[in-house]
């Protein structure tokens, strides 16, 4: 039986991890993630899990130790944010290249400089090309549900890849929400026993991890890694189906909101989607056909499916909570790539919002939807990419 609780996003993720009960976890503090793993440390100290913690001296060592632990053979977790994820960057590629299914909630936060501890997506977007699967979450419930599903996806024998579960710093990690917990036994049963692929601890069959691969084979290894990513979508959907059977909550590659007959649409990740949905309802009440697409699986990116979902719209705005300076927002680039394959495609604009925890307000969504409505009516695009909610 599901249990209704009022918890923060961090607490929800910590509980999901407790219910999975992994063998090893790396713990290192960084705002706003700190609170998640310190809760987990309490579970260890109180004997609620079998996990052995490694209280590392940096995130680089955290990911290094997680890689060692995962290669040794067992279920491994850690969590991080911002600078921590940036410090891990080198090791993120090694975790995926070694095909180790490490699960890591990432509590999204801005990157320095200037120093800022609040929520935006610069950290995870900077890690989008590291070969990790990325699943994004709007609220505490989704962060909890995605964390549980991530184990099944990453550990799938056809996949064996690490997974980041992204949730917005403070807005989700530290806000109390009403949500549902699954029973411990349900989660345990859902994720199942960890299956090893090539465990170092199998001493009878000594293996070597991390060889030097030169020009004769490196290209082939990367091609193989690309192939695995192609299989992820189906596994994510299969796992979501099983999850729905257990929880009643439905997940896909992305979520659409009133998009079926929409003329104009917003594409937006994570917590800001909630605010946007309210404003879309207002526009619908005014007779304007507005809709929304909220990506869930960002890596691998479901280009065809997204294009299919947006193909009948007239104008779309992609809202990015991070910037690729000198380029478009990272989410915009993906949506743009997805739509380019269509013969007829909507007009596309890009807004950068909410950096460093700047509030995303209903008025922002309203402004954007009004602009889209104008464009859909035959108006001109003034500027493709611009910052909103910014003082002149």
């Amino acid at each position: 039986m599901a249990k209704v609780v009022a918890v923060t996003g961090n607490e929800a993720c910590a509980n999901a991890l407790r219910q999975v009960n992994p063998d090893v976890c790396g713990i290192y503090p960084i705002t706003p993630q700190t609170d998640m793993m310190q809760r987990y440390a309490s579970f260890i100290s109180d004997g609620k899990v079998d996990t052995e913690a490694i209280l590392v001296e940096s995130e680089h060592s955290s990911m290094s130790a997680c890689i060692g632990a995962s290669a040794a053979g067992g279920r491994v977790i850690t969590a991080t944010s911002s600078q921590g994820l940036a410090l891990m960057w080198e090791m993120l590629h090694i975790a995926s290249g070694d095909r180790l299914p490490i699960i890591m909630p990432v509590v999204n936060r801005a990157l320095s400089a200037p120093l800022n501890i609040h929520g935006d997506h610069s950290d995870a977007m900077g890690a989008r090309d590291t070969g990790w699967i990325q699943i994004w979450s709007e609220n505490a419930q989704e962060a909890y549900d995605n964390t549980i599903q991530a184990f099944r996806v990453g550990e799938h024998m056809d996949i064996r890849l690490p997974v980041m579960v992204c949730l917005d710093g403070f807005i989700i990690s530290h806000s109390i929400e009403r949500m549902e917990y699954l029973e411990d036994a349900e989660v345990k049963n859902f994720v199942g026993e960890f299956k090893n692929l090539y465990p170092l601890l199998d001493l009878e069959k000594p293996k070597s991890y991390g060889p030097l691969i030169l020009t004769d084979l490196y290209h082939e290894y990367k091609r193989a890694q690309h192939e695995v990513m192609l299989k992820v979508k189906d596994v994510v959907l299969d796992v979501a189906k099983d999850f729905e059977k257990m929880s009643g909550r439905k997940y896909g590659l992305f979520e659409t909101y009133r998009l079926e007959d929409a003329d104009i649409a917003l594409v937006i990740l994570n917590s800001a989607a909630g605010t946007s949905k309210d404003v879309i309802d207002e526009f619908r009440n005014k007779g304007i056909k507005a809709g929304l697409l909220k990506p869930r699986l960002f890596r691998p990116f479901p280009y065809e499916e997204v294009a299919e979902a947006l193909k009948n719209t007239k104008a779309v705005c992609v809202l990015d909570r991070s910037d690729s300076f000198g380029g478009y927002g990272p989410l915009f680039m993906e949506i743009s790539s997805a739509l380019y394959q269509l013969k007829e495609r909507p007009v596309l604009i890009n807004k950068i919002y909410g950096l460093g925890g700047r509030d995303y307000l209903p008025s922002h969504a309203e402004l954007v939807l009004n602009e889209l409505h104008g464009i859909a009516q035959g108006g001109k695009i003034n500027i493709i990419k611009e910052y909103i909610g910014v003082r002149e």
Binding site: G97, Y198, K207, S208, L217, E220, Y221, R223
Partner: protein, 97 residues
Amino acid sequence: MKQKGWKELVPGAVVLEGGSACKFKTGSWRAFRPVWIEENCIQCLFCWIYCPDMAIKVKDGKRGEFDYDYCKGCGICALECPGKKGKKAIVMEEEGK
């Protein structure tokens, strides 16, 4: 040897056979060749313990011939060889001579 295609690779580039480097012969690197003169050998095994290439065959605690498949010809064995009565049990000779 036919190179492997991407579908034939082990996930994560893990090497599944321990000690497979034995299949890679390094003897062709040699410019000088150590020659063992058995009558001068006192079986101290210094050559064996100091060999960086595990290229000296030892059986039942007694040294045998060099393993020229792997010996890179560094000459550490010859230098460290105490020999017998001032006569070295290992001497280096130029390859191909």
